[in-house]
Subunit: 329 residues, 2 copies
Amino acid sequence: MGGEFALIARHFTWPTRATDLGVGDDAALVSVAPGMQLAVSTDLLVGGTHFLPQTDPRRLGHKSLAVNLSDMAAMGATPRWATLALALPSADDRWVAEFSRGMHDLADAFATDLIGGDTTRGPLAICVTIFGEVPAGEALRRDGARLGDDVWVSGTLGDAAAGLACLASRAAADAAGRSLRAQLGEAAFDRCRERLEAPQPRVALGLALRGIAHSAIDVSDGFAADLGHVLDRSGVGARVEVARLPVSPALAGHIDHPVVRDAIVAGGDDYELCFTAPESFRARVEAAGQASGVPVTRVGTVVGGRGLSLVDAGGRAVVPARAGFDHFG
Amino acid sequence: MGGEFALIARHFTWPTRATDLGVGDDAALVSVAPGMQLAVSTDLLVGGTHFLPQTDPRRLGHKSLAVNLSDMAAMGATPRWATLALALPSADDRWVAEFSRGMHDLADAFATDLIGGDTTRGPLAICVTIFGEVPAGEALRRDGARLGDDVWVSGTLGDAAAGLACLASRAAADAAGRSLRAQLGEAAFDRCRERLEAPQPRVALGLALRGIAHSAIDVSDGFAADLGHVLDRSGVGARVEVARLPVSPALAGHIDHPVVRDAIVAGGDDYELCFTAPESFRARVEAAGQASGVPVTRVGTVVGGRGLSLVDAGGRAVVPARAGFDHFG
């Protein structure tokens, strides 16, 4: 009919794999397999708050879905379906085409059907809701950490936040970000920027950790804050040695820079998995990492009490500059 | 942890009825009953586009869920679960409390669990995704209208659009809206405004129409546009007599006003059901309306060809002023 429908039809009607009724009716229809629980998560990304205005639309399409796929990874759920609601300042065909391509390519890689959407005029906002399947009772939850569990983290931390600090320093009068940008050089900066703008959700690792991990979360607000959520929900504490937190080659030579130090512990947007597992499963955790192509690093231990203790190699307390990214902080 | 989490926890953690794991993890977990399809719909409401800035937050909370419940009604699905993603310019506790109350009361009335959410800073935007259950193969779809079907509509049309025209005329230099406001008087205007700001989704009617209606849609973009979607998807046409379109007591004395005439045929936000059913089921359709407490009116017939023909009592073509609300029109 009108422009709205034409825009959706042109860019967001992709072939589906396992959808009974897709885009174009009052609702989509899907069938959840017997014995499966449906895992549901929703994320809203807003221009200026979650991404910089100049962000490449293709990467933005990728990231909008990636953050939701990451939630499925953190639950040990297989992503199956997603909906997209999009507010756009104008019906910019080229922008929408690029955004759609970025989202489509990632959806395709994870066999996730886009089953519904809504497009409207307004300040740029992207709301993706994702649905996955997990065998009943097997989801990786935040509330399952137990005393004595090892604390693990996948991949590397801090790259995205370091990239953001460099990018943001262009606009703001941010001497620390500018100095980091100069120190990193072009290749390392590009790598950090890619981690920020095109994160790779750890879905295969999440699936491989079912039956092994006691608890899991994805690192979106920052390692310290997100592990803190697990500890809160589980009613336990943890002791983590900061020097063991995994760092990428891009940042390895720069961990004394204050921006990098902060990014590793408390930077957001890593989309790695932080999880706990019993000591007896160390070999199985390592095997899960290898099988899914993502390194996993043991960084600490679940202990009694409450909250996260960050310590240096000598066991002395380390206080991070900030406790994580808070949208209303 | 931070303010974001406190805000969600304080206002959006309601008791759930049928949810395995609710707000607070990376994803919610629910179980879809065997033999049921999951119906999924998402809507994004943006300040300035979908509602006026001064809208009462309690009514806005109601409406944000109501438009999604209406999609479930149009599918003949029982609403079960919903997620909410909310972008707010500031963490205004009173506003959020009122918004939450409006949404909660409607969710409670329809036994719908709020299972997840996301809250962030940004220009006001509200994204609700809703999930319902429908017995496999029994959903009311847009593509099922058949030659000879009666065309029906529930409740009354045009009230919401007339109310919006009156309200919008306060800000804009809109002589037609102002003249309607003066003509309607206080009581009728309040009734129209309530239809606009606090629509009642026709869930019971949708459920009662399973096995009776061949096709259905909810009237959100305007009667002509929405029936047009059904005709497009079904590959048929329809002939509708404009004088038979149901009008509320509030508007009954004013159908010659140009704003009202346009609102009935093409105004949006009615959230009534428009559906088609075979002639042989007239008594069953009437009974479904009675059982669900919503009047139903037979307004036309599905015919060959394509598109909607609007005719007057003498069978002459009537051309509406606009074909429906198009967010990118």
